[in-house]
């Protein structure tokens, strides 16, 4: 991977579980790899057998090799890893049935290349580019209401990818330029912003939907998020929004990338 000329790195990385009584059930997984040039986030779907493991396998696999032209081979290998780590012989009847129904998770991969930022997304995990304190780019979704749709997620069942959406994903990943629709995502390339205080946020769906909502508090919400620099800040922010019934109660994860000198001044 050709590295960027300007050094971006993680200013913050954290997560708040949907249920504080069961923090171990958090199904969001995050990895930062390749000397902070590769950022991977996956959000396991609540209603699946072991989406925490599937999300973990996906971020590991994307860290080893981002899913590009050899997507099907990449996916098959990830499914094999998931199956190897699932102890099938000791499953109860319901675990076996739930395992056969599959596990599902999103995937967002952010690669910091020399001249641009490359984004690959399957599902509803979001990247936001912040310039001059405002959202200048959003990917894969543009609007809060996009999150109401049922997302296309990566599954541990290979047959679940025989859909028009995943055919589009395949074409997009192989293509040299963006070929997916802006609504469904797949792949995007962003130029590095010229201003040195720009930020890139990676967020899971509940937090992203809350941030993209357009009302009188849109800017105030963004200001709060870009000011987060420790876990307590994020927990406080998420808990407050949940208490006010403004944010869906879901595992909520955040990575903030910026230039090394970029600091919170909000």
């Amino acid at each position: 991977m050709s590295k960027p000329t300007r050094k971006w790195h993680s200013l913050f990385e954290g997560t708040v579980p949907k249920d504080h009584a069961f923090p171990e059930s958090n199904e969001d997984k995050v990895r930062i790899c390749d000397d902070e040039h590769l950022y991977v986030m996956s959000d396991g779907a609540s209603e699946s057998y072991n989406s925490a493991l599937w999300a973990e396998v996906l971020v590991e696999s994307a860290c080893s090799e981002p899913p590009h032209s050899q997507f099907v081979r990449w996916l098959k290998r990830a499914i094999a890893t998931y199956e190897d780590r699932s102890d099938r012989k000791d499953m109860s009847w319901s675990q076996e049935a739930a395992f056969n129904r599959g596990s599902f998770a999103s995937l967002l991969v952010v690669e910091l290349l020399r001249d641009h930022i490359k984004l690959t997304s399957i599902g509803d995990t979001e990247a936001l580019l912040i310039k001059n304190g405002k959202i200048s780019q959003a990917f894969p979704y543009k609007e809060a209401h996009d999150f109401q749709r049922r997302p296309n997620l990566l599954s541990t069942l290979l047959s679940r990818h025989n859909t028009p959406y995943f055919q589009q994903v395949l074409r997009s990943l192989v293509a040299k330029k963006i070929s997916c629709s802006s609504q469904s995502g797949c792949k995007a390339w962003w130029h590095y912003p010229s201003s040195s205080d720009s930020l890139l946020l990676c967020v899971t769906d509940a937090l992203a939907e809350w941030l993209l909502r357009k009302d009188g508090s849109t800017q105030a919400r963004l200001n709060k998020v870009i000011a987060v620099r420790n876990q307590e800040d994020l927990t406080r922010l998420v808990e407050e929004a949940r208490r006010e019934d403004k944010m869906r109660k879901d595992d909520s994860s955040l990575i903030i990338l910026g230039e090394e000198h970029a600091t919170s001044d909000t």
């Binding site: 609540s46 057998y49 076996e96 049935a97 025989n162």
Partner: protein
Amino acid sequence: MPYSAEISRSQPTAFLFVIDQSGSMDEKMPSGKTKADFVADVLNKTIYQLTIRSTKADGVRNYFDLGVLAYGGNGVGSGFGGSLSTSVIHPLSAVEQNPLRIDTRTKRVDDGAGGLVDQTVKFPVWFDPKSSGGTPMCEAMRQTAVLLVDWCNSHERSYPPTVIHVTDGQSTDGDAEEIAMQLQQISTNDGTVLLFNLHIDASEGAGLIFPSSEASLPDAQSKMLFRCSSQFPPHLLKVAQEKYPVSAESKFFGYRVGIEGIVDFFDIGTRASELR
């Protein structure tokens, strides 16, 4: 806003199936199965689906309490057999661990490479078909109310219980309307108990599902079941609209519903909003 409480392990909801096991349930449907056989099959599949949707690698999560109350010639009591028969409502994990038996079935599934392969699946059975005697619907509704008052008192913050009542006939112990109406006054802080009535019939066609008026219903019994059925909570309205022309005025009621309608009724009626 009512019917918006999250459903979680610390805040489960309840599904109570109230099943008519009177003698007329032995009538055969067009498929050759009796009404009792078919209802038992759909109920077992519904419990199976609720269970596997709540099963994770670390075990079954108690998002739901499940109950089956059966009424017929043997009176009114738990519809579960075996070790579950001691009470009507159980946490989902207890239901998962105590089926009457586990049958083995084969189903064809997509192999992911354009073909189909046979897959052996275990199919647990909790509820066997029975049919005898009269239809003590009033007593069944009264016992349902007693159970749900207790349940709501101990789950004040939960999404309220859903009662799915399946019958093919007329009450033989009086008019069940008043007690069925009272049943729907029982509540948690998130709303009143939902009562979904399903009238089944062995004949094909000419049924009504999710009507918004009793005008086209033929008799006093069907009109009574319509009146004492709940309207759709918002999230179920959305689900039903994917297949049926329902509106906010529609009642969660089916009359002379055939095989597909019975399956849909159970399926839509047990769709929880997102589980946490």
